[in-house]
């Protein structure tokens, strides 16, 4: 140990960081992925400028394609830190997407078009309605879990089935048209690149990170997840913390739904959002949040989303068949948790 002060010893420094900083191994994994991905992208372009433009375009694609999952994973982080889980996010995304589309529908039979509201006001109403719907769905899940004393797994499993099924039934005959203006929310191009989803994601990540670290609510989330009894006995309103966590999740899913509707301009009620819950949970777990609750971070989740995203990109670049890619995702999740275990015992 003495030596590290006199002469910089990479190995001891690395070991120290590996064991004492929870996100160090995750960052290392991401860097490794990025190096491999950059190598896979190749260097056979004519000039550095040309190479860089391809490289950065690839990155913008990665980030944009994962912004929806990224936003959902932010809320999932809070949910999992309280010791819960939310399996309903994929279905609530569809339900909220449908609600948003009903309000922004620009066809003759549109709900707001009929009373003469179109354009930006309609879009604002649509987004607000989506957020309110997300909030209410989340609150309701929260009430099932706190007042109904249902395990989160069961409450959200039920919500997952209900939301998608009801949405599919209700939307059979309705076919809303998404106005061109609305698609600009996600597809507005700046300098030939569509940055917007990335900006929304990072903005929300910043807000959520700040909430987790610098508000009483944020600390309560960790306290409830780590020791619910002690939290209640310290005068923390445990029920409210839990309800709020699912409500925040609902609002974030609503924002993700708005983004999804805007980006694609339509919604496939049967398949949209399928598997999002597992992708978001995977990202949160890879990011070092403990399923047992009490431990985790927004920064870790961002790293988790990126690791899975970059890995997908890498697999794509080196031509791994699509069916196999999910397997790699599974491997990453298992490996990440094994690594985190090792940190604890080391």
């Amino acid at each position: 140990m003495e030596n590290t002060h006199k002469r910089f010893n990479f190995i001891t420094w690395f070991r120290e960081m590996w064991t004492s900083h929870p996100l160090f191994s995750t960052t290392c994994a991401l860097l490794l992925m990025i190096i491999l991905q950059t190598a896979a992208l190749g260097f056979d372009q004519g000039s550095f400028g040309e190479w860089f433009s391809i490289w950065s375009r690839n990155w913008i694609n990665i980030l944009r394609n994962n912004a929806t999952i990224g936003i959902i994973a932010l809320g999932m982080t809070f949910v999992i830190i309280t010791g819960g889980i939310d399996l309903a996010v994929g279905s609530t995304l569809v339900a909220i997407g449908a609600i948003v589309m009903i309000f922004i529908d620009s066809s003759q039979t549109g709900l707001l078009t009929q009373i003469g509201i179109t354009g930006v006001p309609a879009a604002i109403v649509g987004i607000l309605m989506g957020i309110i719907a997300g909030f209410l769905l989340g609150e309701f899940t929260g009430v099932l879990i706190t007042k109904g004393k249902l395990p989160p797994f069961i409450a959200t499993l039920g919500m997952m089935k209900i939301c998608r099924s009801v949405t599919q039934q209700c939307m059979q005959t309705v076919n809303p048209a998404v106005p061109r203006g609305f698609t600009q929310i996600a597809n507005l191009s700046v300098g030939g690149q569509m940055f917007m989803p990335i900006i929304y994601w990072l903005l929300l990540a910043f807000v959520m990170n700040y909430i987790s670290k610098h508000t009483a609510f944020g600390r309560h989330v960790f306290a409830v997840g780590s020791n619910e009894r002690a939290s209640r006995l310290s005068g923390i309103n445990v029920e409210r913390v839990k309800r709020s966590v699912y409500a925040i999740m609902g609002v974030l899913v609503a924002l993700a739904a708005v983004l999804q509707v805007s980006r694609i301009g339509a919604m496939d009620y049967a398949n949209a959002g399928n598997g999002y819950e597992m992708d978001a949970i995977a990202a949160v777990i890879v990011g070092g949040t403990s399923m047992a609750g009490g431990k985790g971070s927004i920064a870790g989740t961002i790293l988790g989303v990126l690791i899975i995203a970059v890995m997908n990109n890498l697999l794509n670049l080196i031509g791994v068949p699509p069916f196999l890619r999910e397997a790699f995702k599974g491997v990453i999740v298992i490996a990440a948790v094994l690594l985190q275990k090792k940190e604890k015992t080391a």
Partner: protein, 496 residues
């Protein structure tokens, strides 16, 4: 079988935990291993149990030098370690718990229940125990659970049994039941190492003792040649001076008053008055309902169904803990590990958990400076021994963890503070410090309620005490009548 541990050294990092410690367990003796928290008792026993390895030193069994590299090798040498938290499965009967991991099988590989039951019965007969092997562990009281653990050790032919604070959760009669069994084992030639904080028990059951302090072996000898007072001062390293207690004369207004409180289950017909500036004890044996009563008052237990609670003269009904906190009540629960500390959070957050919502700026964000200032003030007042605020709460000793929980409540400046078993798992020195903190609080006008089953603790700090028995207040004691003997008398239900 005689055990000797010679010149054991052990350090964790730069921290020397055992410094040349030697320990002897003569054949068929019950030896008390004594010391404050952090003296090195657990480390020494973990070395004996094969959980940890000594840096240097030797262990001899009947003169033969042995080494363990894992708990199994220690078990193979017939050394059994019974941890404070029992390792029993509640949903299995006694005999299955005894055979767990080594189940007897029939030739067809199915479990041989009859054989296991018969073996258990035989063992219980040898141990003079009247216990049905098919009883579910869930239905046993705490002492029989302890006895089941000991039986498991005996089933493995243990020659040495290490018992880590076996009596903490037991009542008087349960303790004597466990002690009877321990004496029986001693007569059978089993050596027992008894780790305990309760010196009276040590005097009662042990033949010899060894005292550790700060990783050093301080003294060992025969129990018959010493006194509790001498042991206590050797453990602490200085005389335990018993400080003053809050005088009943300084009591002010009635701040909490109960009339006929009952929850229809754990307590009934509860009447009491608590004044500001006094320390009131509530005591009794296990099952007296005092914890349930104050949990209900604090809004975290069962609902109060009958009677009326008054705070500061107003009738109130407390439905949630946050309402109780708003009304100026603080509550330090029993069982610090389950109900008190939040293990994943750092010391600072643990010490400010109650007041987080009050320390805000701009309505939403935490006033981190104020939180730190509050905690630093408490840290100084309570003499919390710790390193960085951001260290894990688990890095602290039991006494300091308890002080952090106290800090959590004191920074909210409660008018009424309820302390349930405030010195549980706290060593002798820290215990006295906590008593002094309680006295100082009362002198500042806080009404302090102390729930404890240790009559010695009640007589030490309370100026008045209510003795409970089976959910009812049997007697209020004060002045001359407040002594250990009368407390014991009423706690065991003896009226006059």
């Amino acid at each position: 079988m005689q055990l000797e541990m010679k010149n054991i050294f052990k350090s964790f990092g730069a921290n020397l935990v055992l410094d040349d410690v030697s320990f002897t367990l003569p054949e068929g003796h019950i030896v008390a291993l004594l010391g404050e928290n952090g003296a090195g008792k657990s480390t020494l026993m973990n070395i004996l149990g094969g959980v940890l390895q000594a840096d240097s030193g030797k262990i001899f069994l009947d003169g033969e030098e042995i080494t363990f590299s894992n708990p199994k090798e220690s078990l193979d040498r017939k050394i059994a370690f019974i941890h404070q938290e029992l390792n029993l499965i509640n949903d299995l009967p006694i005999y299955e718990n005894l055979f767990i991991g080594r189940e007897l099988r029939k030739p067809n590989h199915f479990l041989d229940h009859e054989a296991m039951i018969a073996e258990t019965k035989k063992l219980f007969e040898e141990m003079d125990l009247d216990l049905d092997p098919q009883t579910m562990v869930r239905d046993l009281d705490a002492s029989y659970k302890q006895i089941t653990e000991i039986s498991r050790a005996m089933l493995m032919d243990a020659r040495i049994v290490i018992m880590d604070e076996p009596t903490t959760s037991l009542t008087g009669s349960e303790i004597s039941r466990v002690f009877t069994l321990m004496r029986k084992l001693r007569d059978m030639g089993v050596g027992i190492i008894f780790i305990s904080h309760k010196l009276n028990e040590v005097m009662e059951i042990c033949d010899s003792y060894t005292i550790l302090r700060d990783g050093h072996m301080i003294r060992s000898g025969l129990v018959s040649e010493t006194s509790t007072k001498q042991i206590a001062s050797l453990m602490v390293g200085h005389e335990v001076n018993e400080g003053e207690k809050a005088a009943s004369s300084q009591a002010g207004q009635v701040v909490m008053k109960a009339e006929g409180l009952g929850d229809g289950r754990s307590f009934a017909d509860i009447d009491f008055e608590i004044r500001s500036g006094e320390v009131v004890g509530f005591t009794g044996l296990l099952g007296d309902g005092r914890s349930e009563l104050f949990q209900a008052i604090f809004g975290s237990g069962s609902q109060i169904r009958t009677g009326q609670l008054y705070l500061y003269g107003n009738a109130v009904k407390i439905r949630s803990t946050q309402q109780a906190v708003r009304l100026g009540i603080g509550y330090v629960p029993r069982n610090r590990k389950e109900n008190g500390i939040v293990k994943d959070l750092d010391i600072l957050t643990n010490g400010s958990l109650v007041t987080l919502t009050r320390r805000r700026k701009n309505g939403f964000f935490l006033d981190e400076e104020q939180i730190l200032k509050d905690f630093e003030a408490q840290k100084k007042d309570l003499h919390i021994k710790m390193e960085a605020d951001t260290d894990s709460i688990l890095s602290l000793s039991g006494g300091n963890q308890q002080k952090v929980i106290l800090a959590r409540w004191l920074s909210s400046q409660p008018r009424i503070l309820i302390l349930d078993n405030p010195t549980q798992g706290v060593d002798v020195g820290a215990k006295e410090e906590i008593y002094q903190i309680i006295t100082a609080l009362a002198q500042k006008g806080v009404a302090v309620v102390v729930l404890s089953s240790e009559s010695k603790e009640i007589t030490r700090i309370a100026s008045r005490c209510y003795v409970m028995y089976h959910g009812r207040i049997l007697r209020e004691l004060k002045d001359q009548s407040l002594n250990e003997k009368t407390i014991m008398q009423y706690a065991t239900g003896v009226e006059e």
